[in-house]
């Protein structure tokens, strides 16, 4: 009885430790991405992915690629659930990130256009982002 409890407790502790070990380096790296976003070398794109707007370190580049791969997996998952294309999901995400997540001073890009810095006003979104009603 006690032994079973001990085993469960140990398993839980190991799982927790593994979880922490897995998340902490990712957090440290995404801090570098946040710094790059503040610096204007990494920014959100209307296509729903992060892009490189300037020269960045290899670590930041790898982290951006890693985030984009994970994003694509999440978009693919949602697209399957809703019966739409991955591109539609990605475009919807792009509308959201550009309208409510890109902060003033950060850079963004719409389509193949040039990188722009967000000013005080709202970003002029692509026409398909228009809200219902």
């Amino acid at each position: 009885m006690t032994r079973t409890f001990m085993m469960i407790a140990t398993t839980a502790a190991v799982a927790l430790a593994t979880g922490l070990a897995m998340t902490s380096p990712a957090r440290a790296q995404s801090g570098a991405v946040v710094a790059a976003m503040t610096a204007g070398t990494v920014g959100e794109q209307a296509d729903g992915y992060l892009g490189l707007a300037g020269s960045v370190s290899d670590a930041v580049r790898q982290e951006v690629e890693s985030i984009n791969i994970k994003r694509r997996a999440a978009y693919t998952d949602l697209a399957g659930k809703r019966g739409v294309t991955v591109q539609d999901v990605a475009a919807s995400i792009g509308c959201q990130t550009l309208s409510s997540r890109v902060k003033q001073g950060q850079v963004y890009r719409i389509g193949a256009g040039a990188w722009q810095t967000k000013g005080a006003g709202a970003i002029a979104l692509p026409p398909y982002c228009a809200t219902a009603g």
């Binding site: 999440a74 539609d88 919807s92 509308c95 959201q96 026409p127 398909y128 228009a130 219902a132």
Partner: protein, 62 residues
């Protein structure tokens, strides 16, 4: 009066040709339709998109 004559002439011309032929364009005209459809899908997905962003903060650094 003059207008009526012109119209009559028009009908007469129609009667002569028998039918109006409409030739289908070579290229499909559906660009606007596609934009409309995509917009509807994007609007429908808006809530899902918001949830996805909020539930995966590690994928959306700010």
């Amino acid at each position: 009066m003059k207008k009526r004559t012109i119209m009559m002439a028009g009908f007469a011309a129609l009667g002569l040709t028998g039918c109006i032929q409409v030739k289908a364009p070579d290229k499909p005209i559906e660009i606007n339709l596609n934009v409309k459809i995509q917009q509807e899908v994007v609007v429908k997905l808006q809530r899902d998109a918001q949830d996805l962003i909020q539930n995966n903060p590690e994928l959306f650094p700010q």
